[in-house]
Subunit: 718 residues, 2 copies
């Protein structure tokens, strides 16, 4: 199905010939007033956009400044990775100074080009560039505090520590896949919002990746998708330095990388001399920008640790300080006879042009946006919501609610109602599944597929690539505060994408992970497909919400929480099998993490508390009913989200789980490990402390003891 | 460094021209007595090895038998995946009947060809073939019990349930990477043990993978390594049926797969008609066997659900029963007018030749081995140990021991002593790191690198491919009971390989995961590299041992446990930083999982118990010493392996953690989640319930409160 904006479908593909700075000039000619839109911003036409690159000597000075800032910072910290910054400084200089469009005084400016250092260990390259370019987030003091407690220059780039760093990298391959997500977001938004007379979304995504990133499977997954989607504004630089930690890459990595990327649908270029071939680097980037229908991989052959007479081109320069002697030898070799952390005045002066230029770029865009708002009121409002991250008021009214009389249903189906209801009201909501859309029930029915020629659509088809999917969603999430990506697979396959989930949590990317088939309840597919330890293991991860709703109201409640938590990702575990709508559940109670769904006691003193989650909450409730018939006072608690429950006041927690009541039973179709926290040492945890089995779901539940009868027996034994 | 067997280095590369059955005939001509070695085995020369394939009509009958066994089993179970078996039945027939060398009555025969169904959902193909081929593990009753409780025909192939199934598959891409491990094992053993006159190790590894496997990053990692290593006896069939769960693969997978594999160093062949092109399949396999220096990918284009008039070539035949109507339509379409589960007599008779043939194959090999043993006594003893899995007596005497006076050292270094000591005495021990050998300290110094031209060596260079590494090691482990693979990376990157670790646990592959840099103690690399939740999350996984030794003796103890547990993998978490050799630790006590390392109380009644693991055990001990100086009675417990401790008798557990003593403190550089189990509700857990930070290790320990002072303060507060 088509989105409301199909008229703009092809605008991205048909981008103006000289996009980037060229396109900027083009736009300026139509918007002469733009430059004045921001006080203090000089017209960009007067700036370097029309000027040639800096004189060769100045470029060389700038490049050596970058190299030695890295060398000196690592030396001071006695820890870090000087090799990549020394090798990639020429590329870094050319890219940041001559191509990248940004406003250093507003790193969050929406239409900036995105830059990702996927080889995150080389972060001193990025810090040095951000410093020279005038970002306030990286001062000289910050550079000197490299890798120190609470500094803004941690050992790998962290978006939550350093303004100007787009994503958190270090675990190899992730940043590259994030970049694919950033480029997807641009292509999607451009297709939705650009008009033939106003290209309001128009930026590139650049990423530097190393040999390590290339070896990781996640990068192949993401590259295959980028090629499939034809992400023409994604430009990746492969720092081909032939050295990894174990020595020459020849010992483990002899494939033909460029041929592989060509097979994946990429345009490829090889810059054979990345050490001094400035013009080759420039030409490659220009060529890449000219290729509109494919992403481009530019292999840049560099020398790791360039300039170090005794350590260049060896693994010893990869991840250790050079040592004072070799630092001196390198200084002398590169004729850099300055104090540590020296930035020559002419280099400083030269780079300062980015401050005015950045301000002008943003001012022009602001003016353009003002015109856009004027002409295209509704689209502008949607885009604003995406840029700001503000959810439309009353959005949560879209969430369905249920009564006990509503039909039983699998929570994966109830989830689909939420997804589809929210898609109507949240402009930045998009996502998809790793080839399980029809099992995960994640299709947004009002939209078509995000594809090469229909990028305005919102159903993303990730193929069987869970890890790439997660990392791409992290990239989408950090592109704009109002982009809310979801992604889906079977819950057990969180194991395939755990590194991406962790980075989502660490980097505060509010991705929504929709994980169906959340227990042995999936039945016959057997133990390879049945999660048992995943619930607990993800509850243990910091800064992420692990939600396991029991029915329709809790599913809606889980989505409400997930959408509200924009700096904390959520995992929603959903059943394959049908579940009844329970009496005591509610949408809003989910925000407490744990709450009473039924109780026949008084004075906060039941004889027994039965705690359940998800599909086992029903079993808890049925067992409680039986016990109540026998005259017992029993409370049933839904512990839908442990993290949220832990955040409640002691008073509230005590009101749900009074410490006096030590007769407690938990029931959950997963390992019992961790439940001691809630049932105490006298309680009984009913769960599955083994792998599952292949059989019909009901049979497995029975054989593994997840039954009403077992809860009752445990209650009597307590 | 060279192994003792360098004289055989090149035998594998210079395999006899007609290997496989051709080579068998060749060998037989030199060993006329071999055929008589096993009673009842007819000379293989009289068998089908010299005969042409079955007559075309019989082949067609056999293929339809396979198709309908799959259709009928799925229909009976009302669950399963008929599409792949229906499409791949021709390939399955040709491969199993005409090429695969096996003995159905001894599925464990060492020199059998290995077959892996990486697209494990199509397991009815494998079960039908195993049944026809005469494996006792898959009877007609087993086929009828497909996907039922306790059947030997679970929903995905499980090596621990079904004799004849080599590895457990289902999670996509894994089986393919396992196959790379199986082929690596063959190449390694062949290079070590074959003599120019006696090829005692000589078999192929075949694997079928689907579109889903191809999309997964893990398969690219494994394929890149297989190409790098030149695994010429690995033959992979890519079932190119163009359909995955979400429909046509065009929606997410448009790369040129064969070109990608060529870039990875593979030989590639395309069989365009996999539905009826039997001769093309035969020719492709013959061609693949002729390519000695590269693995081969044979893309076999098939129609998913071949024969189903209304569902073939659609996703609806992928993972659901056809439905009785469509089953009938398919029967009629393929002229298969039999009852469900019918195996025509002529098909049965035809396949029965494999029983004698298999017996002869093994008998010949046994005879060959007898000759080998006679001529090459020492090598035969080593190979026997690898084939049987019996560890050499006294092997554990090789493990180093320490006294408190021994130098402090990082447990990663102490681990290296273990690895190197054990490599000398365990013939089947080999492994490596994902490009961190010099950080993980995992090089076996007496050996060189396993590489294309030095496959007899034992240091495997996996490159930055954690997931592929884990899955490849699973394959090595299941190749032979005495092959003990280890693999290494930073502990936090277990997240990249978690799916492989889980399959290691599920499939009872005793891989040893050597995981260094096991906490914030790694310092400046920061939170992306600092595990905090990994310890707990892996403790939650069934059938795996999570060991975290505190010093030299515990490290040796951890390795002892890991080597003894051949059906249960071990993860050994090791420190980057130096640790003292503690007084109360011991090699043997590790087998208890938890034990007292110091105590100044009597009568099993200390005032306080401090429990620690790994690098924090020292802090626990120092805090206890301080408290003891103040007159308190304090016990310090090392909880080096929770799983082993849980397996001890109640009496033993009570002797270590008496329930009467409720003043308990735990200290561990990870999340505190889960520690309630041991400290109870009155205890205090000192840990890290957040992500780490980039700073020198000592500083982070202090800032995050993992200090002697904090333990003492907690003790006083209790």
């Amino acid at each position: 199905m088509a989105s409301p904006n199909t008229t703009t479908t092809t605008t991205s593909a048909a981008a103006a010939p000289g996009s980037g700075r060229g396109a900027l000039r083009l736009l300026r000619s139509r918007l002469p007033f733009a430059a004045a839109a921001r006080p203090g911003g000089r017209p960009a036409t007067a700036l370097r956009a029309t000027a040639p690159p800096a004189a060769p000597e100045l470029v060389e000075q700038s490049v050596n400044t970058i190299r030695f800032l890295a060398v000196d910072a690592v030396e001071k910290a006695q820890s870090g990775h000087p090799g990549l910054p020394m090798g990639c400084a020429p590329l870094g200089h050319v890219l940041f100074d001559e191509f990248l469009r940004f406003n250093p005084k507003n790193p969050a400016w929406f239409d900036r080009d995105r830059f990702v250092l996927s080889a995150g260990h080389g972060c001193m390259l990025q810090y040095a560039l951000l410093h020279l370019a005038g970002y306030d987030g990286v001062t000289m003091d910050d550079l000197k505090a490299f890798r120190q407690w609470r500094s803004r220059t941690p050992g790998h780039p962290e978006n939550f520590e350093t303004a100007g760093v787009e994503v958190t990298t270090g675990p190899l391959g992730q940043g590259f896949a994030n970049a694919v997500g950033l480029a997807l977001a641009e292509k999607h938004l451009a297709a939705r919002f650009n008009k033939t007379d106003l290209k309001i979304v128009d930026h590139y995504t650049y990423v530097i990746l190393g040999d390590g990133c290339q070896m990781e499977g996640v990068s192949n997954e993401a590259a295959s998708l980028a090629g499939h989607w034809g992400l023409g504004k994604l430009i990746a630089f492969y720092d081909d330095n032939h050295i990894s930690i174990d020595g020459s890459t020849d010992i483990a990595f002899t494939e033909d990388v460029l041929a592989r990327y060509e097979a994946l649908g990429w345009h490829t270029i090889w810059v054979k001399n990345g050490n001094t071939g400035y013009d080759d680097i420039r030409a490659a980037i220009k060529e890449a920008k000219g290729v509109k229908d494919k992403p481009t991989l530019i292999k840049v052959t560099t020398t790791i640790g360039f300039g170090s007479p005794n350590k260049a081109n060896t693994y010893s320069v990869h991840g250790s300080a050079l040592g004072s002697k070799e630092v001196e030898a390198t200084r002398s070799n590169l004729h850099w006879l300055h104090e540590p952390f020296h930035v020559p005045d002419e280099v400083k002066r030269y780079w300062s042009h980015h401050i005015d230029e950045g301000a002008s770029l943003e001012a022009e865009w602001n003016a353009k946006f003002a015109e856009y708002e004027n002409k295209y009121h509704q689209e502008a409002a949607e885009l604003k919501s995406i840029v700001s991250g503000e959810l439309p008021s009353g959005w949560d009214n879209a969430l369905p609610t249920y009564t006990p009389e509503s039909s039983p249903d699998a929570t994966r189906n109830l989830s689909q109602h939420c997804l589809n209801s929210l898609a109507k009201v949240i402009p930045g909501f998009l996502g998809g599944s790793a080839d399980l859309a029809s099992s995960n029930m994640t299709l947004l029915k009002m939209f078509g597929d995000f594809q090469r020629d229909t990028p305005e659509e919102r159903n993303i088809r990730f193929g069987v690539r869970e890890h790439g999917m997660g990392a791409i969603c992290n990239g989408i999430a950090v592109h704009s505060p109002g982009l809310i990506p979801y992604c889906a697979t079977f819950f057990v396959f969180t194991d395939y994408m755990r590194a991406a989930i962790r980075l989502s949590a660490l980097s505060e990317s509010g991705v929504i992970f929709v994980m169906t088939h959340d227990s042995i309840g999936l039945g016959e597919d057997g133990p390879t497909h049945q999660p048992v330890e995943q619930l607990l293991s993800l509850r243990a991860m910091p800064n992420i919400l692990m939600l396991r709703p029991a029915d329709g109201n809790e599913t809606s409640g889980a989505y409400k929480i997930a959408f509200l938590n924009r700096k904390r990702p959520s995992i929603i575990a959903l059943s394959r099998q049908k579940l009844p709508q329970l009496k005591g559940t509610s949408v809003d109670a989910v925000s407490k993490g744990g709450y009473i769904i039924s109780d026949n006691s008084s004075g906060n003193k039941p004889e027994l508390i039965v705690i359940g989650t998800g599909s086992e909450l029903e079993i808890a409730e049925r067992a409680a009913d039986e016990l109540r018939k026998e005259g017992r006072t029993v409370r049933v608690v839904s512990l839908v989200c442990w993290e949220l429950f832990e955040e409640q006041s002691e008073k509230y927690k005590e009101s749900v789980l009074p410490s006096e009541v030590t007769s407690r039973i938990s029931i959950e179709a997963g390992v019992t490990f961790g439940w001691e926290k809630y049932i105490g040492q006298k309680g009984k945890a009913i769960g599955i402390d083994r792998f599952g089995a292949s059989a019909p779901a009901g049979k497995i539940y029975k054989e593994l003891g997840l039954t009403v009868g077992n809860v009752i027996a445990a209650a009597k034994a307590l």
